[in-house]
């Protein structure tokens, strides 16, 4: 049995100062006054810190099995814990692809063994992400891994009939299709956002319409068959408009925004540094503003990371040869604070909703994650110091990969402790004494 923990004087959701008692992995007491705690309890002084329910990432690439040179479930879990996450959804584009019950159970049990975050495998929509034949979604849903999120992420389910069938079929087990919206024909050879910068740099363009046309089609399909649709990494102003329209029509659609799409624009590509190469690509300032506004008004439901580790050799090369994607678990909270909280667009309570409660609900893990900070809830807690600026140093990440585009950028706050079922999975050195 681990010792009880008292978190003293934390700012719950950034608006209510209270202390929490954690015993046997559960929050057993919450008090705005003095809190009766056992004598042997570990005391954490959380004055000035924001306490949120453990964060849930709906979009993480852990790379295992297959690309353990880029990331493993263990290193990815550690990185997630450092970033304040207590649960991650591991994308299906591994080798082999997570398109069978066997693979998703393997990922799920390895996540359990590591024990730093709850790893929920995402199942592939189509066999081998090939886009032509539905994967055995039922088998994955009924496996130990209890898969509820299905995605061919990295590839778009572009065939409208396959997409329709997937949406319909997933209803059987209350699943959601999480679509990587990218028209493949409109993006053949695409290297970056199509616009002023791509014209000048001579890089093949990835037009906004290639994302928007798929989202438009998919929301109509989801509405038609009455199914749940989640839009992965929404990146354009037009996509925000389409999702807003769909929600107004009552279509059951949710959407993700990524930290990099909240902070960076295609101007970053000018140096041809492949660290800025990502799919969908960095867009214009107008798109960034629209995504921020969409997240603030709830058109975009959640922030997810699209943490996409790649070994150095896949980024240390010419732009066109480089892999797409960037790591992002450890910088997500800092970027959301910088772009949404410190700008007054969101409160910490909104952050908790969009990075914990809602992603847990979309992933249908709300019985295990994303709860309130109240008595009887599992003690998944993220403590954030919102006034501890730090400069991102990619090689200091717990991820096996270093491909962060945020190196050298100062972020205003950081995650100082993460508790999974009452057990610290990440602790800032300032608290190490308390647990000694």
């Amino acid at each position: 049995m681990s010792r009880p923990i008292v978190i003293e004087n934390a700012s719950l959701f950034g608006d209510t100062v209270a202390s929490l008692l954690i015993e046997d992995g559960v929050i057993t007491a919450v008090s705005t006054g003095t809190l009766e705690a056992p004598a042997d309890a570990v005391r954490i002084d959380a004055t000035g810190l924001v306490a949120l329910p453990g964060l849930v990432d709906l979009h993480t690439h852990l790379r295992e099995p297959g690309r353990e040179d880029a990331e493993t479930i263990e290193t990815g879990s550690r990185s997630a814990a450092r970033g304040g996450f207590t649960a991650v959804h591991a994308m299906a584009n591994t080798t082999p692809v997570a398109d069978t019950a066997g693979v998703v159970e393997q990922v799920w049990s390895r996540g359990r063994e590591v024990g730093l975050v709850d790893v929920y495998p995402v199942g592939a929509v189509t066999v081998g992400l090939g886009g032509t034949q539905l994967a055995e979604m039922g088998a994955m849903a009924n496996s130990k891994a209890r898969v509820r999120v299905f995605s061919d992420d990295g590839k778009c389910v572009h065939d409208p009939v396959i997409m329709r069938r997937a949406l319909e079929y997933a209803k059987t087990f209350d699943g959601v299709i999480s679509q990587h919206a990218q028209d493949p024909r409109l993006t053949e050879g695409a290297q970056m956002h199509e616009g002023v910068v791509s014209a000048e740099l001579g890089l093949a363009g990835w037009p906004a319409v290639a994302e928007e046309s798929i989202i438009a089609r998919d929301v109509l399909l989801a509405g038609h068959v009455g199914a749940r649709l989640n839009v992965c990494h929404l990146s354009t102003a037009g996509s925000v408009e389409i999702v807003r329209w769909a929600k107004a029509r009552g279509i059951d659609v949710t959407a993700e925004a990524m930290p990099h799409h909240l902070l960076l624009t295609d101007e970053s590509v000018r140096g041809y540094d492949p660290l800025f190469k990502v799919n969908p690509p960095l867009r214009t300032q107008a798109d960034v503003d629209a995504v921020r506004a969409g997240l603030a008004d709830g058109t975009i439901d959640i922030v997810a990371t699209d943490h996409a580790p790649h070994p150095d050799e896949d980024k240390d090369c010419e732009w066109a040869a480089a892999a797409m994607g960037m790591i992002g678990l450890e910088t997500a909270v800092g970027i959301v604070q910088k772009t949404m909280v410190d700008t007054g667009l969101m409160t910490w309570r909104d952050v908790a909703y969009r990075m914990s409660a809602l992603p847990a609900r979309i992933g249908r893990v709300e019985h295990e994650h994303g709860g309130a900070l109240t008595e009887g809830e599992p003690a998944h807690i993220t403590l954030i110091d919102p006034a501890d600026p730090w400069v991102v140093e990619p090689t200091a990440s717990a991820s096996r990969s270093n491909n962060s585009p945020f190196g050298g950028i100062e972020l205003p706050g950081r995650v100082v402790a993460t508790l999974l079922r009452g057990v610290p999975t990440h602790l800032d050195p300032r608290f190490e004494g308390a647990f000694a």
Partner: protein
Amino acid sequence: MRHLLSTQDLSREDAILILDTSAQMAATQEREVRKLPTLRGKTVVNLFFEDSTRTRISFEAAAKRLSADVINFSAKGSSVSKGESLKDTALTLQAMGADAVVVRHWASGAADRLATSGWMHGSVLNAGDGTHQHPTQGLLDAFTMRRHLVADPAGADLAGLTVAIVGDVLHSRVARSNVYLLHTLGARVVLVAPPTLVPIGIEPWPCEVVHTLDQAIESYDIDALMMLRVQRERMGGGGAAYFPSTEEYSRLYGLDGDRMRRLPDHAIIMHPGPMNRGLEISAEAADSPRSVIVEQVANGVAVRMAALYLLLAGEEGDQ
């Protein structure tokens, strides 16, 4: 100059210095002894990730006439079959002691990467990177225009000239190099292409765009008409072709004798080569006295000599 990566980096003064230096280099090429001792002891590597015999021999001639040692390094590879990485190649060149690397690459930005990644210390001269830039081509075009169209070329820019560039602007590093350089030198630039071959996002470019060659000839007093090569893979027939057929392209954008005669008398005709005779340019136009296409090749050597001189002469680290 430390590197020559893009004509966008060149100020008017830089550009005129290169053109004036090129003129002196061109003068030496009319002598009996065309070799100069200038870059004795310097090593120039021609690093070609993409076949281009013309460009390679032009740079090779330029370097050799300045007495530099030339190493030709042909590194085949594409985005599909990567072959040796750019980084390892750069480290190899660094170990060999390359003072300058002339790089031709299929990927836009490859020259920038070589110059800024810290993999090697030598000067980088971009000899064409993907669909981005080919600065010495722009410079040799500007040099050729100045020679023919400016009365007193030494020290002069191209103010007052109108240059039309016709063809596949979207995929053309030649067009990009020329648009920025010619604008910097004071010329007016008109791009002529079907909308499918004009990049989205072209609005900030310092040029005008029209969609047929006849319209360009009617609306502008063209001093120089530059025809771009039509690449085989963009041609009609396939599902993603940029125009319906080569015949239609030729009808709307090809330079034939008739269109040539409607140009002002002094106008020159240019082409970066190699030409598709009968497609973007007819034999009559290509071989006419107005054509300076062969001279462009000769000027290419002089301009590349100037670029190598300006990159390699001077103290280590001299800007």
